[in-house]
Symmetry: C2
Subunit: 391 residues, 2 copies
C-alpha cells in the first residue's frame, strides 16, 4: 500500500528541519532495478519551480534512479540561486546513494529527480536538507513507503497511498496535496512505482493518459501550482511484462484512487462534488463545461449553503463554447432533475445536500460523450486556510 | 446626477411588490425626445434571461422609447413562459405610456426594453408588475432619476448614479449591481442617457468601446450573469452635436465612474484591488494577465489576509498565453516591488495592506501596452452572502 509495494524499490522519510513544525519533511524513493524506466508529467504553468525545471531535464531520457522530495518549501520563484540549490540537492543525493550503494552502481545527479512543496518565494536551508539526505540514504528499506508518504505532507491531514496487485506484478504510489487547503498553491506531488516490465516507448503516453482522466480532472479551486509533478518509475523486478492495456488499466485505477484521496482531504471543504456532463458532442466539450461549473465561486458557495442552485450551473455552462442549446439543458442534483429544458424542473426542496458527497449531472443533449470533473465547495474554512495561514 | 440629468428624459420608481422586503422594485426611464437614438451591450453568456433576449430584438433598430427595469426576479431560465412574461411587460408599458402620452405619440412594445434582476429560475408575479407599471407611468418626472436608481437595487447598499455636463449637453446614468455580493449572479444593469445629438451610425461602437474599458474590466468573482445589460439612450434634446471624441470621452468617464461604484459596493469585500499590467506586448495580453490574477482565489484570499503573496500572482500569470519570460517578471504591491526578475525582491513586510485600496502592478517587460482590471478580495462575507442568503 505504498511506493515500496512494488518490488525493486526502497524508500524512507525523515525530519530534516525544513518545517517549523518539526514534522517529517524529506523523503527519498530509490529504484534498485534491474531496470530504470521512468516517465513524468509536470505542471503546465509557465512559472515553474526550480525542481520542476531540473526534473524535466532529468526525465528527458526516460530513465531515473531516485526521487528526492521535500516539504517545507517549494523552491519556486527563487531565481538562478534556487535552481542551483536543486542541482546541489540532486548531486548530494547521487553521491550519498553511490556511497551506500543500494542499487549496486554509481548514481549521477542526472539520475535524480527533485520535488519540492511548501511556500513560494523562499530559499531552502540547503545545509539542513543535505544533512537530511545523508541520514536518509543509509536507512532506506523496502518498508519505507509509509515514512516517505508522511514526509511529503504539508497541510494534508493524512498520508495518501495506493497499491494495485495483478498476476505477478504490482503498482504502488503515494501522493501529497489537497485541493483547497494548501497555503501556497496546493501543489500535488505523486510518485508511482511498478515492478512490471514496461515498454519505454509507451510509458510516457500511458502516464499522460492516466493523469488526464484523474489528477487533471480534480479542480478544487482552479489554481495551478508551480510545482505539480507526477513521476512513474519501473524497476522491472517482477520480470513480468503485462499487456499494455492491462498496465494502463492498473495505472488509471491507481491515479484515480490517489486523485480522489486528494479531493477527500481538502480540509477547507464541506462537500466533495462530482460534476458529470453527459451527451456532449466531444469529450473536450464535456470537460470544458464541467470545469466551468467547478470553477464558479457562486455555484461552490451555493453547495456549501445546501442550495441546489441550478441557475448558477446554467450561468457557468453558458460561458463555454461547447455545443448545446440553452433551452435543451437538463441539470440534476443528487438525482433530482431541478432543471429541464433550461427551465424550472422538479422542486429544489426535494434535493438533499446534507451529506458530503454531491453529484451534479448536466445533460447537454448534443452528442455521445461524457466526462466528470471533481471539485469542492467554497467555505469559510477555505478562506481561513488561504488567508490566515499563509505568509 | 441621475438618468434624468440629461434633458428629454423622465423617470420614476415604485414598489410593485416583487421583493419580499417591500422595498422599491420597479423603475421606468422614458425618452421624451425629440430623438430616440439608442445602443446596448448585453451579457455574452449563452444562457440569456428572457429580458435580454427581448431587449436584443428591441434594440436591433437602434431606437428606443423606454426601459422598464425590475428587481426582485431575474426572469432567467424560465422558458417560453418567461419570455412571454417579458413580452407582456413591454406591451403593458407601451400601452400605459401611450395613455399618459409623455412623449407625444403612440408607443409600441417594440420601443420598450426590459431589464430584470434577482433570483434565477423563478417566474415573476406579472399581475403585480403590470399594476406597478400603471402606477408608475402616470407619475414620471424629470426628477425621477433617484427613485429609479433606488428601485433597481438588490443587495446594493446604495444607489449608483452619475452625471457629466459639457458645454450645452450632458450625460446621465444609473447602475445596479455589485461585484461579489449578489445572491443570484451579481447582475449588472446600467442605463445611460444623454441629450447630445448623436450619430446613429457611431453610437453602438462608442458604447461598446466605453464598456470594454470599464464594466468589462471589473471582475469581482469571475462569474458572468445571464442578465447583464447596458443601455444608452439619446434624446437629442440639447440640440448640440458634440464631436465624436468628446462624446466618447464623456461616455468613457461615466462608465468608468459607475464601474468603480459597483466595485466599491461589493459588501462581501474588504479590499478593492486594481491589478495593472504594464509593458505587455498587446492590450489583450495585459487584460488576460490581469484577469487571470483577478480570478485566482488563492491571490484573493491572500489579500484578505493582508499578505502580499506575489508567488500566487506569478502562479496566476503563468497560466496565461501572454508574451513574457518567467524570469523577467516584476510585481509590486502598493508600490513595494516584492518580486524582481521572477524572484525574491523587497521584503514583503514593507507592504501595508491595511487600507481598502490595493494596487498590484505586474511588469511583463514584453512591450508597450498596459491595462487595469479591478477586483475584490475573497472573504468570509463573500461566502456568507452567496451561501446563506440565496435559495
Amino acid at each position: 500500500m505504498s511506493v515500496t509495494a512494488a518490488a525493486g524499490f526502497v524508500a524512507g522519510g525523515t525530519t530534516a528541519g525544513l518545517k517549523p513544525s518539526g514534522k517529517p519533511d524529506l523523503a527519498l524513493v530509490v529504484n534498485t532495478g534491474p531496470e530504470q524506466v521512468a516517465a513524468a508529467v509536470f505542471t503546465t504553468n509557465r512559472v515553474k519551480a526550480a525542481p520542476v525545471l531540473w526534473s524535466q531535464q532529468v526525465l528527458a531520457d526516460g530513465r531515473l534512479r531516485a526521487v528526492v522530495l521535500n516539504s517545507g518549501g517549494a523552491n519556486a520563484c527563487t531565481g538562478p540561486e534556487g535552481f542551483a540549490d536543486t542541482h546541489r540537492t540532486a548531486e548530494h543525493v547521487a553521491a550519498a546513494l553511490t556511497a551506500v550503494d543500494p542499487g549496486g552502481s554509481t548514481v549521477g545527479a542526472i539520475d535524480v529527480a527533485v520535488c519540492s512543496t511548501g511556500l513560494i518565494g523562499e530559499r531552502l536551508p540547503l545545509d539542513r536538507l543535505t544533512a537530511g539526505v545523508d541520514a536518509l540514504a543509509g536507512s532506506l528499506t523496502g518498508d519505507g513507503g509509509q515514512a516517505a508518504a508522511e514526509a511529503i505532507m504539508t497541510t494534508d491531514t493524512r498520508a495518501k497511498q495506493v497499491s494495485y496487485v495483478d498476476e505477478g506484478w504490482s503498482v504502488g504510489g503515494m501522493a501529497k496535496g489537497a485541493g483547497m487547503l494548501a497555503p501556497g498553491l496546493a501543489t500535488m506531488l505523486v510518485v508511482l512505482t511498478t515492478d512490471a516490465v514496461l515498454d519505454p516507448a509507451l510509458v510516457q503516453d500511458q502516464l499522460a493518459s492516466a493523469c488526464r482522466r484523474s489528477f487533471e480532472r480534480v479542480d478544487s479551486d482552479g489554481c495551478m501550482s508551480t510545482n505539480d509533478t507526477v513521476i512513474l518509475m519501473s524497476s522491472g523486478a517482477s520480470g513480468v511484462r503485462p499487456a499494455a492495456p492491462d498496465f494502463q488499466a492498473a495505472l488509471d485505477e491507481a491515479c484515480r484512487d490517489l486523485a480522489l484521496q486528494l479531493l477527500a482531504d481538502a480540509e477547507g471543504a464541506a462537500h466533495e462534488i462530482a460534476i458529470t456532463v453527459t451527451h456532449a458532442a466531444t469529450e473536450d466539450d464535456a470537460v470544458e463545461v464541467a470545469r466551468a461549473v467547478a470553477r464558479s465561486n457562486l455555484f461552490k458557495c451555493a453547495v456549501f449553503g445546501g442550495d441546489p442552485n441550478w441557475g448558477r450551473v446554467l450561468a457557468a455552462v453558458g460561458t463555454t463554447a461547447a455545443a448545446f442549446e440553452p433551452d435543451r439543458l437538463d441539470v440534476s442534483f443528487n438525482g433530482v432533475k431541478v432543471c429541464v429544458d433550461g427551465s424550472i424542473g422538479e422542486p429544489r426542496d426535494r434535493v438533499d445536500l446534507s451529506g458530503r458527497s454531491v453529484e451534479v449531472k448536466i445533460d447537454l443533449r448534443a452528442g455521445p460523450r461524457s466526462a466528470t470533473v471533481w471539485t469542492n465547495d467554497l467555505t469559510y474554512d477555505y478562506v481561513r486556510e488561504n488567508a490566515e495561514y499563509s505568509t
